[in-house]
Symmetry: C2
Subunit: 331 residues, 2 copies
């Protein structure tokens, strides 16, 4: 049985507040635009405009890694709150609506000056892989004083995304939140987010994993970037025991979960009829896992629920569940 | 063989420029909100705000009936242009992008004052049926002088939606466009749009069908509203011969096409694995049909392509094709 406390919020997360703009594309477009398939690239507003003009017809769905995880948790029935920054524009309203509509508390006020709500231009290739280009916009306006200490004090788990390390202000806000979490006896959960993200902040991530993180989410490519000298089994050996839990997703091969007691639990992926868009697969794995963790499930059950949530999200465009995930709890 | 001319645009359409906000809901919500399932209701900004706050997490996809038809036509390879009015806001940019990205010419300038870009709040029930609530916003700012006479003169078909009859200014713009079409030897195509729409403008629609329309698109419920005294076979008898072509869609039973020569062509629906969302099914039927009509197909082929396009669109959320429809031409 995993641990849980009686604090009112199962998970409070701090993350980038982003609306995804999703479009199907072929591999040639990815190559032609010098993108690295399957990763996230930060772009400025001019590049966002230029790329958008080249992209095909799109669908807008609220996104943001940690926000996706909370939306999944809330859809499963957990109590959650989000801290992040939108601008006071139409996309900001959409982002706020979509979190609140699924039951996530979100009261960080919007930025009144500066840049517009963040957008992630996502190209989805025929293999279902997503390649992301993020204009970070108003996310850059999240500061330490946006971290609501009352929320953190009432959280069982405080969750953050590696993406926050790409900007000084958001990194500082995240560190403040993790510090408050520790002081209040909350668990610290963290996702490595992206290969490039790991490369940019490798030393800091290694130190955090060693000292701060209780539950680490990552995929195979990210841990390979974390320990570039080693092969995958050696990497798992290195990670084992560093945190209470390390959950490494390995795409359609499922996930492997390393626990402090030295056990290694392999969990299969849940097969789907057709993979449409893998955007949010990792975020929803974390959602299912953390729901299980905060609801007394054992590690294998946590992993299985993570797999089930990840499989649900890859059958349609976008990283937010289109129908309540509670049906996965019955199965 | 159907007729076509050598004019550069296969279809020029005038319509409402709307971004759809789609959300899954149960039937109880539809009943509780006093909506009439399967129809379109006009709402003001306050009601739009209140309803949005009650709706679940949503997905935004560009919409608008005639715009959907053009996007489908363009995705098939036709040359098309759209006339309609957005506001100079984020949703207006999204609407414009999604038309231009699929190859539809759209140069009507955005409104600089007045209300925001139109939104249609769409509840999709588990049976795939869609119930629409439209805040018409900037669409109300389309006037006669927005009708580009040069575009109309270069069109083989000028297409309009019954929805335009709900406002005086757009009705007048549409009438001007149809008059220019007649003067320039273009065919006039028209969709009855919605049951309530037919009820509101019944006498005018009957007169237009008699005198102005060459190609009429409608569904069974709409023609029943047009001739409320009659049963379906009697209605078809009344419609037969009134226009060069009357295409009546009948949901999963396909469509029946009435031609001036007295023939009645039945076309089956194309079965799908799972119906997710019927938003845009009629619009895409019209797209496939008009592509066939302007590319030398016979009536049965036109109807079959219409059915294939309609089936494609109901397998995902939203009324715009997510992948190029040209693959339906190969089949």
């Amino acid at each position: 049985m995993t641990q849980a406390s009686n604090k009112p919020y199962h998970v409070v997360a701090i993350g980038n507040a982003i609306v995804d703009v999703l479009s199907f594309s072929d591999d040639a477009f990815i190559v032609g635009e010098n993108m690295k398939k399957g990763t996230m690239c930060l772009i400025d507003e001019d590049r966002a405009e230029a790329l958008y003009n080249k992209m095909g017809p799109s669908t807008e769905v609220s996104g943001g890694s940690a926000a996706n995880t909370l939306a999944g948790l809330s859809s499963l029935g957990a109590r959650t709150a989000f801290i992040g920054k939108v601008f006071k524009d139409q996309l900001g309203k959409i982002f706020r609506h979509d979190l609140q509509a699924v039951g996530v508390e979100f009261s960080t006020p919007p930025a009144e000056t500066g840049r517009s709500t963040a957008r992630c231009l996502i190209l989805v290739t025929p293999d279902g892989q997503r390649t992301m280009n993020t204009f970070i916009g108003a996310c850059n306006e999240l500061y330490e004083n946006d971290i609501d200490a009352g929320l953190i004090a009432n959280a069982q788990i405080v969750y953050g995304e590696g993406y926050m390390w790409d900007m000084d202000c958001t990194k500082q806000a995240m560190k403040t939140a993790f510090k408050l979490a520790k002081e209040n006896g909350a668990k610290v959960a963290f996702t490595l987010s992206d290969v490039f993200c790991v490369q940019r902040s490798r030393e800091e991530f290694l130190s955090m994993i060693e000292h701060d993180v209780d539950i680490l989410f990552c995929n195979e490519a990210e841990v390979r970037a974390l320990y570039p000298e080693d092969d995958f089994p050696a990497i798992l050996d290195k990670l084992q025991g560093k945190c209470e839990i390390v959950a490494v997703t390995t795409g359609d091969r499922g996930s492997v979960i390393l626990t402090k007691d030295g056990r290694r639990t392999h969990v299969d992926a849940v097969p789907v009829h057709e993979v449409i868009d893998t955007t949010g697969a990792g975020d929803l794995y974390a959602a299912g896992f953390l729901y299980g963790y905060t609801h007394g499930m054992n590690i294998r059950e946590c992993g299985r629920l993570g797999s089930a949530c990840a499989s649900d999200i890859i059958t349609h465009l976008g990283a937010r569940a289109q129908r309540p995930l509670t049906r996965l709890l019955v199965a």
